[in-house]
């Protein structure tokens, strides 16, 4: 049969972000495919080397756009590991609240993104409205809607404002009630369940071959492989939560885990608000001048569980006022690049967009 070239993106309603999937198709079936990344390349790793440690805090949230806080957290923990800096107790809990709110917002965006490839736009509208409420809470806490620059080296920038606990409680209670509705609209919706059930499977051996982490991995291997549980950072070892898993990884199972993770995040936030102690929220590194402080020589890798998998900064310092090298391990690197090349062939054209959506591929963190 004749092979035809087809590309999905960069300007395509079913594509998330500015990346392009190039496919060689035979009829409906993909024969060969690969991702063309690099359209969001900004040279972050080079720019971080040229800026002071403090300046970098304003640069790094831009690495991953839907969930910017993981960048701040990863950068801060990596630097704290080299500095051997102890963060105040309250700051850990505030960080967890911020990270879990960000996880809910990213999951809602990804879950609503299902509306694009399946044509179920009601779901998208609902999810974005709820996400907007999270952005409002962020605006109250940090002053910005999307790029917060809130988690800094040595704690968080400022304490929580008065009365924010009530706002968060109202929101998460409301969201918890609506999760049932989300199930009905999305994964249990008869009009799209055929598209997402038993399609784009991810077997266990493929997970190990690609190096997929996050929801993709947990949905296939049936074990709670979550960085929050396995290598706990902040105070995740002091809260109780479950890691939803499954042993049959199709698009529906992965979306199901997304909804369950939102539920778990709500439980974590409730515990954080209850257990959070009073006290200072930030310590200064106290090495040199107020802005031009230094970090001792050292190497550190700081893994964080993002909504898409293990996200981490590899940081090298040579004792200067700016980092010597910062490498970003994007969580969607394996499934985005190698997954599309090796695993998409054999599936149908319309499954490509679903793969991108349910595996959680975020193109800015692939390109940096």
């Amino acid at each position: 049969m004749k092979e035809m070239k087809l590309f999905l993106g960069p300007q395509h309603p079913g594509m998330h972000g500015n990346a392009s999937v190039h496919m060689f198709v035979d009829g409906d079936i993909i024969k060969r495919s690969y991702l063309l990344p690099g359209m969001l390349h900004r040279g972050f790793e080079k720019q971080m080397e040229r800026k002071l440690w403090v300046n970098n805090i304003s640069l790094i949230p831009r690495v991953c756009v839907p969930e910017p806080d993981i960048n701040e957290m990863s950068f801060a923990t990596a630097a704290e590991k080299i500095l051997k800096l102890e963060v105040p107790e309250r700051a850990h809990w505030i960080r967890m609240i911020i990270l879990e709110l960000a996880r809910i917002s990213a999951h809602l965006m990804a879950y609503g993104g299902l509306g694009g490839p399946t044509g179920n736009y009601t779901l998208m509208y609902h999810a974005h409205v709820d996400r907007n409420l999270i952005l409002d809470i962020f605006e109250k806490i940090t002053g910005a809607r999307v790029y917060h620059q809130y988690i800094v080296i040595g704690g968080v920038r400022q304490d929580l404002p008065d009365g924010i606990e009530e706002d968060i409680n109202v929101f998460i209670d409301d969201l918890e009630r609506r999760l049932v509705e989300y199930r009905d609209l999305g994964i249990d919706n008869a009009s799209i369940v055929k598209r997402i059930k038993d399609t784009i499977m991810l077997p266990e051996e493929v997970v190990w071959e690609l190096g997929v982490t996050g929801i993709g991995m947990r949905s296939a291997v049936n074990k709670p492989y979550d960085v929050r549980k396995v290598v706990p950072y902040a105070r995740y070892d002091q809260v109780e939560f479950e890691v939803p898993v499954s042993d049959y990884s199709d698009a529906r199972a992965r979306l199901d885990i997304k909804i369950k993770e939102i539920q778990q995040s709500i439980i974590i936030i409730r515990q954080c608000l209850a257990k959070m102690p009073e006290g200072p929220v930030r310590v200064k590194p106290d090495r040199g001048q107020s802005m031009r402080w230094t970090v001792p020589k050292g190497y550190a890798y700081a893994p964080i569980e993002s909504s898409r998998g293990e996200f981490g900064y590899y940081m090298v310092s040579n004792g200067g006022t700016s980092p010597w090298r910062v490498g970003v391990r994007g969580a969607s690197y394996p499934q985005g690049l190698l997954g599309i090349e090796k695993y998409l062939p054999g599936t149908r054209i319309d499954d490509a967009a679903l793969w991108v959506d349910t595996m959680g591929i975020c193109s800015p963190e692939i390109d940096r």
Binding site: K5, F7, P10, Q11, H12, P13, G17, N18, H22, L36, G38, M39, L40, H41, R42, G43, K46, Q47, R50, S58, L59, R62, V65, P66, M109, G112, M124, Y125, H128, V129, R131, N132, L135, R145, V146, Y147, P364, D367
Partner: protein, 192 residues
């Protein structure tokens, strides 16, 4: 006896008739703008809130459009790396006229936070004409919508004629594009 045939005293010239038709066209056009969804950068993450129920762009008569040939507005949402700029120029040239360019964020204005980056251009209006800039990193949905209201007002005042500038200074734009990009044509494994 007067003729039954209607003959106006001052016959309108062709240019005048054209102008009238443009005015009528502009009236309808500015009240139903179709927006090309090309999410070039991070400002695109504020577009879903402004498009969905929270800020509801559709009350201004605007909606997203998937193909460039039927869209009126090219929305440049954020920084442009060289690789994107190449595709953006493709997309811009595919759009049918009249077409308007709205640039979000501070990066298309002067490079923003990426002013010294090796991959991000500093000034968008060197390569394609820009009608409305919305400053901010990133601009709120309110300011995004305000930018569109400005665009509508500008279409009414006939100041949004970037696409005419692109015709008039085509050589200048092409030269700038070539200086920065090397060549505008995409060369890769797929396009051979």
């Amino acid at each position: 006896m007067l003729s039954t045939k209607f003959t106006p005293k001052n016959k309108m010239t062709k240019a005048e008739i054209d102008r009238k038709w443009w005015e009528v066209g502009d009236y309808f056009r500015r009240n139903s703008l179709w927006l090309l969804m090309y999410c070039t950068g991070c400002c695109a993450v504020e577009l879903p809130p402004s498009m969905t129920s929270a800020y509801d762009m559709e009350r201004l008569g605007m909606g997203p459009m998937a193909t460039p040939r039927q869209a009126d507005i090219l929305l440049v949402s954020g920084y442009l790396s060289l690789k994107t700029l190449r595709r953006l120029i493709y997309t811009y040239e595919q759009m049918s006229e009249p077409k308007y360019v709205v640039a979000l964020g501070s990066c298309p204005i002067n490079g923003g936070i990426y002013h010294d980056s090796h991959a991000v251009i500093n000034q968008l209006d060197q390569y394609i004409p820009v009608d409305v800039y919305v400053a901010g990193c990133m601009p709120n949905p309110e300011s995004v919508l305000n930018g569109f209201v400005d665009l509508m007002e500008g279409i009414k005042q006939k100041t949004m004629n970037g696409w005419k500038r692109y015709h008039d200074h085509f050589e200048w734009y092409k030269e700038n594009q070539k200086n920065s990009l090397g060549e505008v044509i995409v060369h890769d494994e797929f396009h051979q």
